[in-house]
């Protein structure tokens, strides 16, 4: 058994920021399914929001205006005190990252460059060309090296140890040694990222299974607002690799098959820079009404960058151009890019507060796996990188306070019990002769993309729910080729499947019950937002019998009364 004061699970931005904030004073261990540098945060392109007011067009930008944009963007489902904390922290953490070496792009006056992003009243998205996630994650990893953080790469958490409302650590699989390892900790923070890969069409990394969210749920931690799933308007057809919103921030057009900039009909003022939920619905409507293009890889519209010119594309969007060359064989300098909306971000997640605390003592969550909620029903581009670092930092402060106040020792019995559970689970996988997990996963993903997507309707959600229940039954007999623990990716996939099914069940159930349209949750049968009945968070908790129990929680409203959302 390994022992740490603090255990961080996840080596993306949220996990590394939390660890860097604590490893000077505590014995911190960070475990991650992939080496931290391979985490999905590396793929973020467009930028991180902070009201620095560096852009000549944004001299009167303030954290309050950033808060308002965030709340409005959330379709008023964000908890306003939390959004405000995030937006006030934003300049501090961006400067801190810069002081730690982050190579942001610069304005001619030497300040951090900022570009316009969707749903924002000012150009406040700080960036480094189109590799902002890459530079932020490298900077935090570099800091963790400077501070001597103890990292366990390629350790996969299989279970959280919780007893009587208190968390004592995790049970993980060390893939390289091929062992089950219990890791005890006085405080544990999950920063395990989003659940994009529960969808068939997703911009996310293959590793974004959301298993951390499912693991927390199984251990009795409530999940919040899971039905709010963001679909990004612009992913390339075929692989669904992202074309950053920065492409539109730099002036890119969306064009249908008649050559029309169709956003005129949907958001005449903001045009291509309306928030993502609105742009994704607009593209889907264009395609459904026959104004899209068709190909073997699916239906699509064009993202046209040609008018930006070679120089601007090479300077501001070089990564975008390379992706097009490598994966489509198209040069966006010369040709428009075929794009379609795809699952992109998980607004919902582990229920946390503005200190990254959960209802379980000693258990914290931050980043995309958590739901504070600062994004409510729709996240603004550039606010997620911000959330990871802010709530990683605030989580570290909360853990510090907790460890100073409380002196509990991990419960050895609970840890032993959890270890036995994991061993039994793996033995069972090795002994069954049912289906392979990928078959079930494939059906699950297709179901989610087909019936729990951009537009939703009662009958389809029912179909999805029934399908998921069927798959849950089949998943009980999943089998694997070998139960050897050494470098066994098939085994990891089989373990994660159970958690992915839980997540999909809750997304779909939440979407089925929520009879209104708000942000990214758009019901064809209930097209209006309904503040009287639905201005509330959906909470899902596991019951004794393993079924989800849904309840609701009030939204925190401080300064901004809900208004109609027009762009």
């Amino acid at each position: 058994m390994l022992k740490h004061d603090v255990l961080i699970v996840g080596g993306g931005l949220a996990g590394l920021r939390a660890a860097v904030g604590l490893c000077d004073r505590y014995n911190v261990g960070l475990i991650s399914k992939v080496h931290p540098i391979r985490s999905h945060s590396i793929a973020a392109q467009g930028g991180i929001n902070a009201a620095l007011a560096n852009n000549p067009d944004a001299k009167d930008d303030t954290p309050d205006k950033h808060t308002f944009d965030t709340v409005k963007g959330s379709d008023y489902l964000a908890d306003q005190h939390a959004a405000e904390i995030m937006c006030y922290e934003a300049p501090k953490i961006v400067y801190e990252m810069e002081h730690w070496g982050c190579p942001f792009s610069r304005f001619p006056d030497g300040t951090i460059a900022q570009r316009p992003f969707g749903g924002a009243g000012y150009p406040r998205t700080c960036y480094s060309a189109d590799i902002t996630g890459h530079v932020l994650l490298n900077t935090l990893f570099e800091r963790s090296v400077a501070r001597g953080l103890h990292i366990y790469p390629e350790f996969v958490v299989a279970q959280l140890v919780v007893k009587d409302g208190e968390c004592y650590g995790v049970v993980a699989i060390d893939q390289i040694k091929g062992e089950i390892v219990a890791i005890s900790a006085r405080a544990t923070l999950f920063a395990t990222g989003g659940y994009g890969r529960t969808y068939y069409y997703s911009t996310n990394a293959l590793t974004n299974t959301g298993s951390g969210i499912g693991i927390a749920y199984k251990a009795g931690v409530p999940l919040k607002d899971m039905e709010f799933v963001q679909f990004h308007p612009t992913s390339i057809i075929g692989t669904n690799i992202l074309m950053t919103e920065g492409a539109r921030g730099e002036g890119g057009y969306l064009v249908n098959k008649n050559g029309e900039r169709f956003m005129e009909c949907y958001a005449p003022k903001a045009m291509e820079l309306a928030p993502r939920d609105i742009v994704s619905r607009s593209i889907t409507t264009e395609i459904e009404e026959g104004r899209g293009f068709e190909s073997e890889l699916g239906k699509y519209v064009h993202l046209d960058l040609r008018h930006l010119g070679r120089e601007k594309i090479l300077e501001r969007l070089p990564g975008i151009r390379n992706i097009c060359l490598d994966f489509l064989g198209i040069d966006p300098v010369l040709e428009p890019i075929p794009i379609m909306p795809a699952q992109h971000y998980s607004m919902g997640g582990i229920d946390t507060n503005e200190k990254s605390e959960t209802v379980i003592k000693g258990f914290y969550a931050a980043g995309e796996c958590a739901c504070v909620s600062v994004h409510g029903a729709n996240r603004l581009g550039g606010n997620s990188l911000l959330e990871t670092i802010v709530f990683g930092k605030l989580g570290a402060i909360a853990i510090d306070n907790y460890l100073q106040a409380i002196n509990s020792e991990p419960d050895a019995k609970a840890i032993e019990q959890a270890t036995n559970d994991v061993e039994a689970k793996i033995r069972k996988l090795g002994n069954s002769n049912g289906e392979k997990s990928f078959r079930i996963l494939d059906e699950l993903r297709k179901t989610m993309s087909a019936y729990v997507g951009i537009f939703r309707i009662k009958q389809e959600l029912e179909t999805a729910l029934n399908k998921i229940i069927e798959l849950e039954g089949r998943a009980k007999n999943v089998s694997i080729t070998s139960s050897n623990l050494f470098m066994n990716y098939e085994l990891i996939g089989a373990i994660e499947l159970e958690y992915m099914l839980d997540i999909c069940h809750i997304i779909t159930l939440g979407a089925f019950l929520r009879e209104e349209s708000r942000g990214a949750h758009s019901r064809r049968d209930f097209p209006q937002r309904n503040d009287t009945d639905w201005l509330k968070h959906t909470m899902a908790t596991i019951r004794e019998d393993g079924k989800p129990e849904i309840s609701y929680k009030d939204v925190v409203i401080t300064k901004y009364q809900p208004m109609e959302r027009k762009y």
């Binding site: 590396i42 400067y95 190579p103 610069r106 300040t111 570099e142 075929g238 692989t239 994966f327 990716y489």
Partner: protein, 243 residues
């Protein structure tokens, strides 16, 4: 069904069973146009052989997980199109110069050790300003190439020096050193360069330029090595040196 039948020849080895020598295993699979090597690897593991080991994450050539040798060429599996070869046989081998853990997964520990040794982070002595440390657009541009490195170790696998001298720092670590030394904000003393003023450092490079060929992100590690050599000479001659 469209697509052609391909034969994937994959080098299998399990370091937990060292007595069994590495050998190629053949998988026949139908490939439709537009598929990448990584997509096919995923299908092989899902549908044919659950024991196959390889690393992958972003599938978009930014996370650096899936470096390997594809038909003799080092590259990321995710950005290599199967149809880009004029043969129906695809041979996959793990990255050279690193020990195999299992199949296409190598032990990256030596690579990370070299990285950590060069102090891969911004070093500052001055107090931080309230806002950002100013940097001109030109100064930012100067480090651009080396900032782009994704630490995939393609260059490490391609380096002929590392194949005979495992103590050599290697292209990626030296490129990282150059990234920081030439950052206008970095204040590390020039005497730190002494650490690479030897055959394990900048003088170890043969300038065969294999690292440049192998880099999937157009980074030119040799440029960094040449630049570090110049800085060292200047520092030695003048007892100082500017960045």
């Amino acid at each position: 069904m469209t697509g052609d039948i391909y034969t994937f020849k994959i080098l299998r080895y399990d370091s937990s069973v060292p007595e069994k020598r590495p050998e190629f295993q053949l998988y026949r699979i139908r490939v439709i146009p537009g598929l990448t090597v990584l997509t096919v690897l995923n299908r092989i593991r899902d549908e044919i052989d659950g024991t196959l080991a390889f690393r992958a994450s972003c599938r978009s050539a930014v996370c650096g997980s899936c470096a390997m040798v594809v038909n003799g060429k080092i590259d990321l599996a995710c950005r290599t199109q199967v149809a880009s070869f004029d043969t129906r046989e695809i041979i996959l081998e793990p990255l050279p110069n690193l020990e195999i853990i299992k199949d296409l997964v190598v032990d990256m520990t030596p690579f990370w050790n070299m990285y950590e040794k060069i102090r891969p982070y911004l070093v500052r002595n001055s107090a931080d300003p309230e806002k950002e440390i100013y940097q001109s657009e030109g100064d930012r541009k100067r480090i651009d190439q080396f900032v782009n490195c994704i630490l995939c170790a393609c260059c490490y696998g391609a380096c002929p020096v590392l194949s005979r001298n495992p103590d050599y720092a290697g292209p990626a670590a030296l490129a990282k050193l150059e990234r920081f030394i030439s950052d206008s904000r970095d204040e590390r003393p020039m005497k730190e360069l002494e650490a690479v003023n030897n055959d394990k450092g900048v003088w170890g490079c043969d300038t065969m330029l294999r690292c440049i060929d192998a880099c999937p992100k157009d980074v030119r590690p040799t440029d960094s090595i040449v630049s570090l050599r110049k800085k060292l000479i200047k520092y030695k001659l003048l007892g100082k040196g500017n960045k």
